[in-house]
Point group: C2
């Protein structure tokens, strides 16, 4: 029997044969062969139950290895080196706030580890927005090890050394958790890796940037990739001990459905983040900080948000065209694809090495101006979106709370008077009936008011939350560029100190220009999507609002017609 | 120079040469010849100013006499004997609550002084309803001696020995302040005066009650009397020292406008109360407990309510046909009418002596049943009306407070996003304009929401407040009947004790039957008015509500049309 130390708190899912353990607690392993990433253990009080393997440290092997999920070898093959470091908790915007006003020479100061992270951009994904929204949103205090058996998704968090998903910037409201230290050689030198490296012989990967009407644009495929996330099914493993949800993903290319669990989506997210995070904002997946108490709403809400995330990824010409994404869309059985698994070297800033801009090199000044402009805009929009989310949330609360109650009381008051009138013994059927009808009408209105937010406000909130998440990624993406620009600025000094050659400096300038093309292409992509999305959601919102008020007017007209003047 | 003792607190109207004095304070009279019911006095601190004559007690003459307002000799002529006694503070309903369940034999116990009063039915006329309603409603803490120079109306209150209008059950929400002790010989015997008196030879006064479809009904005039209260004008007296408001009253009979001040209406109210109070609920005038800080709203609101009160009086076949009411409608100059002034003996319960029912005498049992039914109904409706008033008041607050603020914030949020989008440098005029329009639309909606209550809820509230006031009078009216019924029940005992003869008892029964006819006629009058009023106000309310929601829907449809899908 082996002794193990508990690394992170884990609360048992009731009726799931699990054992609640607390960080630092020592437990005795009673059965290591349970599988599925679980071990059976006994605590000091003699209680026995299942505990996630990578929540504990057994003397035999180290946590990082254990962190890999045995039944996911296929995904493991793609997994990044496990030496992720904790991301700092700076407000990712703080840097740009300074920049917007003063020079940006303090970038490095702001990122001592050379780490750019957006993780803390949304410490509380929904912020104060959570209350009042549909049940499935109500995350605070939710257990991470919910019925959906996603404890193993926690891996990526526990790696970050911050003790699990609580710190994870999840949900549409979160930002990328990119930690540049992931990328070999980058740890102390920011984008230098790309700026100064001997470019590797171009692989098949080639990201061309064209000059469009609006400026640099990615090359878009003729046929827009799209996919449907649908038909969530409850599956189970370990002889039904653990249950999980599988979602069907159906790409419009193959039309062949593939099943994925949340953790598979999370795996895809991690891969995309590693590969494109420096050039393209990869929004986090919908948060898993949601209570499992309302399975129906929860699954519906998560599917809706996974759909939103996938749609956004499909829409992106670079992401949707990438091997890993295509693999995800066609992947059926893990085993069958193992051989496909191979380490990808073009991750992190090296993504820029595959970018080929059509057009002249850009002047570093222009590059910096563009960069500043983008960071100002994204910051401003982030504020605007959060503002709308806050008032929307308040409105949601009022419309689902006090307002309908009031309409109901008005309805009751009318009906009450109606029945008093009936007791008068005076013949007045018309009035009493009409009063009663009016009362019922206001009760109906009460119900309409309470249900309306789900029909319109909900989508306005969802879209803006998606954008809150997306905007939370820009500080990282832009940060890489800021860092590169700073390096180029240092160029002369570095040459003088013969740290680099004049040739190197020229190369750096050229490559910053390439990065800028990429950033501009990405911003233009963002803008065109933004315009499409906001047109769509505003139309939907106003359309529903019109219907809402028209229906009320019609109901009241009906009620009015019941009254007669003598 | 004379010394005087201050009887009641009086707070000076700023800029009106007045002197603030407190009850019990001793002041020195510096000029008694000021006139207009004022004297000039000096307080211990040497401050000099005007004080209402009847707020003080000068050694020379006693307060009650002083209480009569010199410049109102005409009204004085009609004034009741000054020996009004304080009214007890029982909840007028409490008596009936008992009756509804147990027997009514404890009426006398409940009214030790033989005094029935509804004064305390609405200690705070608007109750909690006050806040949130239009300014003019906001009474609490208002001075009685406001700019409208109504200190002299306080007379009727100071007489009641309760130190001024604060205790006065005013406003539409109040009830009659009938004090039966007013009526000679009635003080200890309730309705006995009428039940046992030798009926005086019928005067010209004759109130016939016919049998209509609905039962006993008053005889209604062919032409419905009506009048308009309009064109309030600010007048002044005492060389502009004091100002007041005169309202024009134009009866549809003569079409000749007569001017009346609030206190003249109050005089009419007192007369009608004395004369008809026992048989007909006479609702109080609109309260004067309103702050004078908002002259415009205040005058408008008071005029509206005086109009409502007058309309109700005009509609009443008995009241509108009475000498005193007709006098009020034709009265122009006080002096010219002095000779008309004559004591009216047919006041109080004696009103019943002029009533001539067409139809057989009613069995005392039936009389009591009717009476019980009416008191149950009026109590139930009183509750229903107050309930509606409460929720209406809350709704008013929400619609004029938080709700529009929220719509405004939504509007601002949209406009804010719009301007952020404009700063993107990306060409998207259509979207930014549309977002901006949508924002403006929600700001317009905010304003509509805030203004709507004055267009519909206001009238619903006003009508229900009128009824709250009217219903508050019924306990008094019904009380007189209950008392009479009790007396008749005592009949046998009284005969046995040879307090009365068998003949007397028969007379009592007959006269109670007459009273019952009157009560039924009054209830039928009440019902037909109620049906008319509630049909009218509900139609108005729903009509405005329909317009409101239709307008919003239209505005939103406009905003919606601005968006385009690409």
């Amino acid at each position: 029997m082996e002794i193990a130390k508990v690394l992170y708190d884990f609360t048992a899912e009731p009726g799931n044969n699990e054992l609640t353990v607390r960080e630092g607690e020592t437990i005795t392993i009673t059965n290591q062969g349970v599988g599925g990433g679980w071990i059976e253990a006994q605590n000091s009080r003699g209680e026995v139950g299942l505990v996630p393997e990578d929540y504990i440290e057994v003397r035999k092997f180290a946590a990082p290895t254990a962190a890999h999920v045995p039944d996911l070898s296929f995904f493991d093959a793609f997994a990044p080196p496990a030496n992720n470091t904790a991301s700092n908790g700076n407000d990712p915007w703080s840097v740009w706030n300074q920049d917007a006003t003063g020079g940006s020479s303090n970038n490095w100061a702001a990122q001592p580890e050379g780490t750019v992270t957006g993780k803390s951009a949304a410490p509380d994904p929904w912020g104060s927005n959570t209350q009042g929204h549909p049940q499935a949103y109500q995350g605070p205090g939710a257990e991470d090890d919910e019925w959906d058996d996603e404890w193993d998704d926690v891996k990526s968090n526990s790696e970050s050394g911050e003790g699990g998903a609580i710190q994870r910037g999840g949900a549409t409201g979160s930002s990328m958790k990119i930690s540049l230290n992931k990328f070999p050689g980058f740890s102390k030198s920011g984008p230098e890796l790309f700026l100064l490296c001997k470019l590797p012989p171009k692989g098949k990967e080639k990201l061309t940037i064209y000059m469009g009407e609006v400026g640099p644009v990615w090359s878009y495929p003729e046929a827009q990739l799209d996919c449907v996330v649908a038909d969530p099914k409850k599956g189970s493993k370990m002889y039904g001990l653990k249950s999980y949800i599988e979602y069907q993903v159906i790409p419009n290319t193959t039309n062949r459905p593939v099943n994925h669990r949340y953790k598979h989506f999370d795996w895809l997210y991690e891969r995309l983040l590693d590969k494109f995070g420096s050039a393209i904002p990869i929004p986090s997946l919908p948060d898993k900080q949601v209570t499992g108490r309302f399975e129906e709403e929860f699954i519906k809400m998560r599917m809706e948000r996974l759909q939103g995330w996938m749609t956004r990824m499909c829409r992106h010409p670079v992401v949707s065209n990438s091997d890993v994404f295509q693999l995800f869309l066609t992947f059926k059985d893990e085993k069958e694809h193992e051989q496909k698994a191979e380490k990808d070297e073009g991750v992190g800033v090296m993504i820029f090495s595959s970018i080929e801009p059509e057009g002249p090199d850009l002047d570093p000044i222009e590059v910096e101006q563009k960069c500043e402009q983008f960071s100002r805009f994204t910051k401003a929009m982030d504020d605007g979106v959060k503002d709308l989310l806050n008032v929307g949330q308040e409105h949601w609360k009022r419309c689902t709370g006090p307002l309908p109650k009031e309409y109901q009381r008005i309805g009751k008051a009318f009906q009450n008077l109606s029945s008093v009138f009936t007791s008068s013994g005076y013949q007045e059927a018309t009035l009493t009936d009409a009063m009663n009808e009016a009362g019922k009408t206001y009760e109906e209105i009460a119900q309409m008011v309470a249900e309306q937010p789900r029909k319109d406000l909900h989508f306005l909130m969802e879209t803006n939350n998606e954008y809150k998440g997306l905007l939370g990624c820009f500080p990282d993406t832009i940060g890489v560029h800021k860092a590169a620009i700073e390096k180029v600025k240092e160029g002369d000094r570095l040459v003088a100190a013969s740290k680099i050659t004049a040739q190197d400096k020229a190369t750096m300038a050229k490559r910053v220009s390439t990065m800028s093309y990429a950033l501009q292409a990405e911003m233009n992509h963002f803008h065109s999507n933004r315009i499409y999305d906001y047109n769509r959601v505003m139309q939907l919102y106003l359309e529903e609002q019109v219907k809402f008020y028209e229906t009320i007017a019609e109901k009241l007209r009906q009620a009015h017609s019941q009254f007669t003047t003598m």
